[in-house]
């Protein structure tokens, strides 16, 4: 089965990384940022510029909605796209939700029983990282230009470094593209309403592009099976 760039030996970690094999989580997060960033942009251009900035609240609403409905939406999409092609495995738990690791014993040559490894760090290491960076940029438009210069490479480095050994690593050249887009866009004069939303829109485009590439690779590697599987047990 085609999986993430780094081979993972543990069955639990492989099951966790399987959740990202079709690129749908990245696409969903990217689309959320693009939709809510786009609405914020439309708001900034067409509606009156009030003292309170709607941009941040819209992005925050998008991320909250993602936290609330992500599993349901992804399960719906995966049941039509992924499970018929390469099978179903229990979606990984979020580490923060399960608290202390349980004491499931598996075959291991370690002196202690390994914990259940089917957990994901996606929400804390990707969703929240992007959210906090966006929050930084949406707060004060005076600093947006220079923040974008510094924050885009910093965001790219953070995403790469924190996810490097996780179930969902990002390729170095992919994060390099994200790192370079901030300084490149700084050279072009972005209109004032666009500036506060540059980071969420950039991150959204990057995530959707990344997820789309993964999805295309997955669909090519896993054609729809001609016959339905069945077990005689």
């Amino acid at each position: 089965m085609k999986n993430s760039a780094i081979p993972i030996a543990s069955p639990g970690r492989r099951a966790a990384s399987y959740w990202f094999v079709d690129g749908l989580p990245d696409i969903l997060l990217g689309m959320t940022l693009l939709i809510f960033g786009g609405v914020g942009l439309w708001w900034g251009i067409h509606l009156s510029k009030s003292a309170t900035q709607p941009d941040f609240f819209l992005i925050a609403a998008g991320v909250l909605l993602l936290y609330w409905k992500e599993r349901g939406i992804l399960d719906f999409l995966k049941s039509r796209l992924t499970y018929p092609r390469s099978g179903y495995v229990r979606p990984p738990e979020d580490l923060s939700e399960i608290g202390l690791p349980n004491t499931l014993t598996a075959l291991s040559l370690k002196p202690w029983p390994p914990s259940d490894e089917n957990v994901t760090h996606f929400r804390t290491r990707t969703v929240l990282v992007v959210f906090w960076w966006c929050l930084l940029l949406c707060r004060d438009s005076r600093w947006n230009r220079w923040f974008t210069l510094l924050a885009t490479p910093a965001l790219a480095v953070a995403l790469y470094a924190w996810n490097r050994n996780s179930e969902h690593p990002y390729r170095w050249w992919s994060t390099l593209i994200l790192a370079l887009t901030g300084p490149t866009l700084l050279l072009t004069e972005a209109p004032l309403p666009v500036q506060p939303l540059l980071m969420p829109l950039l991150a959204g485009v990057w995530l959707v592009a990344q997820g789309a590439c993964t999805l295309v690779g997955y669909l090519r590697a896993n054609p729809y099976p001609r016959t339905q599987e069945g077990v005689s047990a």
Binding site: M1, S10, P11, G12, R13, R14, A15, Y18, D75, F76, K78, S79, R80, Y83, P84, S86, G87, Y88, V89, R90, L104, T105, A106, L107, S108, L109, P113, D116, E117, N118, P225, Q228, E229, G230, V231, S232, A233
Partner: protein
């Protein structure tokens, strides 16, 4: 019979078979998995996996449930409580054997 040989003879033969051990490992790490995932992850043929699952189900180690995700039928397998206990016992026994043989350190030349 030496105690070590006695321990070896007490290993659970249902789990000890490599294909069934692979199934137990995958289900132990993942939780639930359907037939297709197990087949691809373990490199089994349909008939082979079906046969091994039947043996594990017969021993009460695996539960097989037919359900739907959306409109897609899934044959979802999971470890039972008995299966988890048996797997833990097997792991401990095997670890004890390997450790007593000094096989858990660095690989020998």
């Amino acid at each position: 019979m030496t105690p070590r040989m006695q321990q070896i003879s007490q290993l659970d033969r249902v789990i000890h078979e490599p294909a069934r051990l692979a199934i137990m490992l995958i289900l132990g790490g993942a939780g639930d998995a359907d037939f297709l995932y197990l087949q691809r992850e373990g490199g089994f043929t349909q008939g082979n996996l079906s046969g091994h699952l039947a043996k594990l189900e017969e021993a009460g180690y695996v539960e097989i449930e037919k359900k739907f995700k959306g409109k897609v039928p899934l044959t979802v397998c999971s470890l039972t409580g008995k299966g988890r206990t048996a797997f833990a016992e097997y792991s401990n026994r095997m670890l004890g054997l390997l450790q007593s043989n000094g096989a858990c350190g660095s690989p020998r030349p």
